[in-house]
């Protein structure tokens, strides 16, 4: 459903993403790992439309989406969460979700209330529905990022380090939620440093370094490769 074809993005002389290609099938879950600065979030920005590629094309459901605004891509079915949560801090948790459902999901405001209540229940935020989002804890902010993205009723969900900074128990809760989302037929691309969380969800793994693809394939194989271990885990580096 998503084809990322020979895409590059440069900022001046820096190649943030350098000739990266990958495909995503319908219902598939792809993981992306790599050290900080490898260009992972830039890949998301290119897919979601907040940045334009310097070269290459991005197709979603067969159509070149290069000219679409971020909002149009969201309405087209690409939902994303941000690495650093951006809650609408002056609005309640419920209202935050309604924004996604109304503008991203194209629903009438009143019609969206039921869906939003259901999504808040799924991510475990029901009891905080009327709390102002600015007062949430980190875990709840991450849940809210997820809830809002789900409210847009995405076909493809981009998760950017959604487990980062959480405790093990919180990560387990989140993995359960993400697996349930997958089971409902949503395709997922997940950038994550917490590898064990990632491995319990994804079908395929892409490893990146300095804007380039290191390798991609079955998660266990990718993780076992010496170059991945060297770059990513710092194992085997000649000190």
């Amino acid at each position: 459903m998503l084809a990322f074809q020979a895409v590059s993005k440069s900022f001046g002389s820096l190649m943030a993403v350098d000739d990266v290609s990958f495909q995503l099938a319908e219902g598939e879950a792809l993981g992306i790992i790599g050290p900080n600065g490898a260009g992972k979030t830039t890949v998301f920005n290119l897919i979601a439309g907040s940045m334009k590629p310097t070269r290459g094309t991005i197709r979603f459901e067969g159509r070149d989406i290069g000219g679409d605004s971020p909002a149009a891509r969201c309405r087209g079915g690409i939902g994303r969460t941000h690495q650093i949560p951006h809650p609408f801090s002056g609005m309640t948790v419920f209202e935050n979700t309604v924004v996604g459902a109304v503008f991203g999901g194209g629903q009438g405001e009143r019609n969206s209330y039921g869906l939003c209540a259901e999504i808040l229940r799924r991510v475990g935020l029901s009891d905080k529905a009327n709390v102002v989002a600015g007062s949430l804890t980190l875990l709840d902010r991450k849940r809210l990022e997820l809830a809002r993205a789900l409210a847009t009723q995405p076909k493809l969900l981009l998760l950017d380090e959604i487990a980062g900074g959480l405790t093990d128990a919180e990560v387990r809760q989140l993995v359960d939620i993400i697996n349930a989302i997958r089971a409902s037929g949503v395709s997922i691309i997940w950038i994550e440093h917490i590898v064990h969380a990632l491995m319990s969800v994804i079908d395929r793994l892409l490893a990146m370094d300095s804007g380039r693809e290191l390798c991609q394939g079955p998660p266990a194989e990718v993780m076992a490769r010496p170059d991945v271990q060297q770059v990513y885990l710092g194992i085997g580096t000649a000190a």
Binding site: F88, M91, A129
Partner: protein
Amino acid sequence: MKGTVVERATPLSRGFWLVATLLILVLAAAPWWLGRGELRLIAEFAYLIALAQMWNLLAGYGGMISIGQHAYVGIGAYALLILSLHAGVHPFLAVPVAGLVAAVMAAPLSRLVFVLKGPYFAIGTWVVADVLRLVMANVPALGGGSGESLTSVIVGVPAWEREAVIYWMALAAGVGLTMGMYLFLTFRHGLALTAIRDSEAASASLGVEVDRVKLLVYVASAAGLGLVGALIYLIKLRISPDAAFSIEWTVLMIFIVTIGGIGTIEGPIVGTAVYFLLRYLLADFGTWYLVVLGAVAVVVMLKAPKGIWGWVAHRYDLHLFPTRRRMRLGTKAEAAAAPALDTVANGAG
């Protein structure tokens, strides 16, 4: 979930609306029981709320910090001048038309200033306003640098009618623009606007066309300012480029909004009241008046960065114009438990 109920009003807001409606009715009848001086004062109070509300819409909700909104006060004033003095339009009719003129001007001007971001946008808006001032000063047909008097277009109207209609228009502008903004915020687009206020990046990735909403807000703000600008100069009756395109208008709007509470409907009303109070108390102290005004602004910005109303709303969870959608869950048991849910919200809010 089926049967999800959402409500906005609170007992306090219902009480406030009752009092506010009565107050507006009493004020609407003021020309029959108040003198000219008092009417002018209330009219000024009302139009300053309207001006401040338009800057609040632009900066507090749209996130566009402009220091050149006096451009549209001036455009409104000159639209009034051209329409009533030179084109023979009745001055009372020229006031709303001036709002339309400002909106039509705002669309192309927005293309100019929207290219700029942040502080560059702010300076850019100021430059646009100053260029307009200089252009008007160089049109001899409109009085050039010294401007023109409007007295001749209004002398035909009987004194009481003149005072009353201008007063009603000012009252309508203050109440109407405040209510218009409130209604807008309760609609779908208001949700988008509040979202943009809090995070542009998140709004865009949730399907909100940020640029389109911003343009709409910029044009709406200009329309309101143009209308009020025309009204102000229908009261002053003398239009000159230096006065109509004076940055003092924008400074006043910024002062009122930041003191009262940016990004709230209540803020500009509170801010206008504070401004009037300070002006009244310090009327005999000459230049010290401005020193105190500046000091108050500095203290409020340090102690309560969200303004007086922002502080009150946060401290006491008080909302006279409730835009918040409070969710109640469907079943009877849950509905009965909903007050507890509200308490949670209040406690954390």
